[in-house]
Amino acid sequence: MAHERETDDHTGVETTGHEWDGIKELDNPLPRWWLWVWYGTIAFSIAYWILMPAWPGLHGYTKGLLHQSDRVAVGKELAALDVKRGEGAAQLRTASLEQIEKDPKLNAYAQQVGQSVFGDNCATCHGIGGTGGKGYANLRDDVWLWGGKLEDIQYTITHGVRTGAEGARMSQMPAFGRDEMLKPDQIDDLTEYVVHLSNRPADAAAVARAQPLFEAQCSACHGAEGKGMVELGAPNLTDADWLYGADRAAIRGQIFAGNGGVMPTWQGRLSPETIKALAVYVHSNAGGQ
C-alpha cells in the first residue's frame, strides 16, 4: 500500500504515500485549533490524574488530591436526607391524626409520605389507585369493613387483618357449603335472600323460605336487616359494594366457601409516624369519614 510520497498536481500538496483503490491521501497538516484542543485534553487528563481517583494499583487505587468518592458523597446525601426526614417525622409523631389532617402543611407532607409508602407496600393488593379488586377492599369509596375513621384506619394498618397476631382484626365467615353446615338448596335460597336485601329483584318464594334461615345463621353478625356490623367486620349486605362480587354466583360462592382475606401487620415494618401518614393519606383519599 505504501508508495513513494509524491506531490499532487492539483493542489500542490504532498501525499502521505498511502493509496487505496487509486485513492490517495493528501498530507495536509492538522488544523491548528484542533491541535490546541488536543493538547488541551492532554493537559486536562494529567490534571485529572492528579486531582481525581485515576490509576488502579495492586492494593486499591490512587485517591487523588481532591479525595473525591461517590460512595462518601452518597453517604453524606443520605445522612442529610435522614436529618430532613427527621424533622417531618418528629412533627408526625407528636401531632394527632386530626391535627395532621387539618394542618395544611403537615397534611401536604403526610400526603407525600403516604403516597410513596402506599405505592411501595399497599398497591400490590389494593392497586396503585387504591380501588382494590375482588377480595381486596376498595380504599377509595365510603364502605369500611373495619371502620373508616382515622383511628380505625390507623389500627387496621398497624395490626392487619386475620394475621393470627394479637390485636389483629378478626372475623370469620363460615364456609356453610364446604363444611356442610347448610344444604345446597338452602344456600340457593339464602343467595336469593341476599340479592333481595340489596334491593334487586329476587325469587319471592325462595326469599320467604330463607327468612328464618338468615335469622338463625347470618343475623348474628350481619344484623337482622343485613346492614352488617363494623365491630365484627361483618359487611353490609344491603349496599352496592361487594368485596367478592355482586352477582348470584359470587354471592353463592361466598356463602359456600366463606372467604376472608389477610392483610399483613405493618407494625414493626413501618414506623408509627409512617403509619400515621399512611392513615391520613388513605382517609382523605377516601373522602374521609
Binding site: N138, A240, S284
Partner: protein, 499 residues
C-alpha cells in the same frame, strides 16, 4: 431585487475550476491560512447631520439601558419595588403596572414577533437603520471608538501609533484605552444583572460576595463579550457572525432607501484642482473621505455591500467635502435604486414608501400587536387549572353514587389575599366537597400572587335508570368578588362500567 456585493466571498474569477482548498486560500491569505486576517480599520471622526443623530441615539439607548433598572415603582408590601424586574426565583416578570406569570410567556413571543416585523418594515422602507443606529454592537463600538480617540487621537494619529515601535507613550495610551474599555464592559455586564434582582440590594451584595452566582457569571460573560465584540471584533461581528446582513436581502427591494453613491453624478471621478472646469467630469474628487470615515472599512462607491450598516457617516463626510469645493451636497445619500436609475435616465425620481411588502409587514404588525395587546388587557385576575384524578377515574359509593376526584390549582394574580368560592356545574344533583368534609360550600384562601392546590370531590347521586352518560361535560368556577375564572372538565360517571 437590488444587487448586494458580498466581499466575504471570493471574486468570480476565483470561482473557476479550482479545488476547494485553492478557493479557501483565495478567501484567506497568501500563506494558505483558511481565515482572512483582520484588516485594521481606523474610522476618522466626522461631523454632520447623521453623526448628530447617531450621537443622540447613542446617548438615548445607553441611558435607557443603564437607568431602567433603577426606576422604583410602588407595589404593595412584600412585592418588588422595582419598575422593570425579571424575577427568576419568584418566577414573575414586572414591568411598571404589568406583572406576568411564566405561563404568559406568549406575550413575550408576541413582542418578539412584533420586533422582528418592525425590523422587516424599517428595512423595507429605510434599509438597515437598526444596524446603523440602534444595534447594541454599533452603539457600543461607537462608544469604544470615542474612548480610543481620547487616548490615541484620530485616524492618522492612531495609524502612526500602531506603526510606531513600542515606547512609553504607546504603552500608556494602549493600556489606558483597554482599562477604560474593560471598565465600560464591566459596567455593561453590571447593569444587565440589575434587571434580574433588586438593584440597590444587588449593588451592595455584589461587592460583599453575597450575590447569587448567576449574577457574577452573567456579569463576567457580558463583560467579556462587550470587551471582545466592541473592542476587538467590531465590524467582524456584523460581517461574519450576525445573520441579519444575510437575511436583509429578502427585505430590501428597489424602492428601499439605502446609503447610495450617485454614480451618474460622481463619475468620472478624479482629482480636481481649484479653478478647473467641472465640465465633462463627475463631482467625485476621489478624496476618499467616505472610505476613511467608514466603520466597516468599505468603499460605498462600489455599490450596495453586505458589510454596509447604513450608518450614513460617509454621507456626512461627502457633504462636508462638497460644501468645501462648492458642489451640491448629496453625492452620497439615502436613496433608492429605483430613484437613482430614474435620474440616471434623466427622468423624475419616484419614491414609493407604500408598496405591497410594506403593507404586508404593517398589516402583520397590527394583527400581532393587536392580539398581544388584547391578550394582555383581557387576561383574568385568577387562574384555575383542573387536574382530573386518573387512578381511579371514578369511585362508586355504597349507595351507588359516583364520585370523581379533582385537584384544582387556584392562582391569585392580584396583590391581595383572596377567598375563592368554588362551585361545580354540569352534573345534575352533583355535590362538591373537600376530603374529610361531607359537603357545604367549598372555599379556599389564596395568598396574594400565589397558587394553592386544592383536592375536591364531585359526587353524583345514584343513577338507577341509567340515563347518565359515561362522560358528562362540566366546569369548575371560582369567584372572589369581581374576580372570576372557570375551567371546563369532564365528570366520568362509570356508566360504561356497570357493576
Amino acid at each position: 431585487m437590488p444587487t448586494i456585493i458580498d466581499n466575504t466571498q471570493p471574486k468570480p474569477d476565483a470561482r473557476s475550476a479550482v479545488s476547494a482548498a485553492a478557493r479557501a486560500k483565495g478567501k484567506g491569505d497568501a500563506k494558505g491560512n483558511l481565515y482572512k486576517p483582520r484588516q485594521p480599520i481606523y474610522p476618522k471622526l466626522v461631523h454632520g447631520k447623521w453623526r448628530m443623530v447617531k450621537w443622540a441615539l447613542l446617548i438615548f439607548t445607553l441611558a435607557v439601558y443603564y437607568i431602567t433598572p433603577w426606576i422604583r415603582w410602588r407595589r404593595p408590601e412584600g412585592f418588588p419595588q422595582q419598575a422593570a424586574l425579571v424575577d427568576f426565583t419568584g418566577r414573575r416578570f414586572y414591568f411598571f403596572d404589568i406583572q406576568l406569570w411564566p405561563q404568559e410567556v406568549y406575550i413575550f413571543t408576541g413582542l418578539l414577533v412584533m420586533a422582528a416585523l418592525a425590523l422587516f418594515l424599517a428595512t423595507a422602507l429605510f434599509g438597515r437603520l437598526w444596524c446603523g443606529y440602534a444595534c447594541p454592537q454599533t452603539v457600543w463600538t461607537d462608544l469604544y471608538i470615542v474612548v480610543e480617540r481620547l487616548f490615541e487621537g484620530d485616524r492618522n494619529a492612531r495609524m502612526r501609533l500602531d506603526a510606531a515601535p513600542l515606547s512609553f507613550n504607546k504603552i500608556w495610551r494602549k493600556t489606558g484605552k483597554h482599562l477604560v474599555w474593560l471598565a465600560i464592559a464591566f459596567g455593561t455586564g453590571g447593569a444587565w444583572i440589575f434587571y434580574f434582582h433588586d438593584a440597590p440590594t444587588l449593588l451592595r451584595t455584589f461587592w460583599t460576595g453575597e450575590a447569587p452566582i448567576t449574577a457574577y457569571v452573567s456579569c463576567l460573560l457580558l463583560t467579556c463579550t462587550t470587551y471582545i465584540f466592541a473592542g476587538w471584533m467590531r465590524e467582524q461581528v456584523c460581517t461574519y457572525m450576525c445573520p441579519w446582513p444575510r437575511i436583509q436581502g429578502a427585505m430590501l427591494d428597489d424602492h428601499s432607501l439605502q446609503v447610495t453613491y450617485l454614480a451618474y453624478r460622481g463619475e468620472t471621478r478624479g482629482p480636481h484642482k481649484k479653478g478647473q472646469s467641472w465640465e465633462g467630469r463627475g463631482d467625485c474628487i476621489d478624496c476618499r473621505q467616505c472610505v476613511v470615515v467608514c466603520p466597516m472599512g468599505i468603499d460605498i462607491r462600489d455599490g450596495a455591500q453586505l458589510e454596509c450598516i447604513n450608518c450614513g457617516l460617509c454621507v456626512d463626510a461627502c457633504d462636508e467635502m462638497m460644501i468645501k469645493i462648492g458642489r451640491p451636497t448629496g453625492l452620497i445619500a439615502y436613496d433608492s435604486e429605483e430613484a437613482v436609475a430614474a435620474r440616471t435616465r434623466g427622468e423624475k425620481a419616484v419614491y414609493k414608501p407604500i408598496r405591497s411588502r410594506t403593507i404586508y409587514y404593517a398589516l402583520a404588525m397590527s394583527v400581532v400587536g393587536g392580539l398581544t395587546l388584547w391578550s394582555l388587557v383581557t387576561r383574568p385576575k385568577a387562574d384555575l387549572n383542573v387536574i382530573r384524578d386518573r387512578n381511579p377515574i371514578f369511585v362508586r359509593m355504597h349507595d351507588g353514587a359516583v364520585r370523581d376526584g379533582y385537584t384544582l390549582k387556584i392562582g391569585n394574580r392580584t396583590f391581595q389575599e383572596r377567598r375563592f368560592d368554588i362551585t361545580f356545574e354540569g352534573v345534575a344533583g352533583a355535590r362538591l366537597s373537600r376530603p374529610g368534609e361531607t359537603g357545604g360550600t367549598v372555599s379556599v384562601v389564596v395568598p396574594a400572587d400565589q397558587v394553592v392546590p386544592l383536592r375536591v370531590f364531585v359526587t353524583a347521586p345514584p343513577d338507577p335508570e341509567g340515563v347518565r352518560a359515561a362522560s358528562v361535560p362540566g366546569r369548575f368556577i371560582i369567584t372572589s368578588g369581581d374576580v372570576r375564572a372557570e375551567t371546563k372538565t369532564v365528570f366520568l360517571s362509570g356508566a360504561a362500567n356497570p357493576q
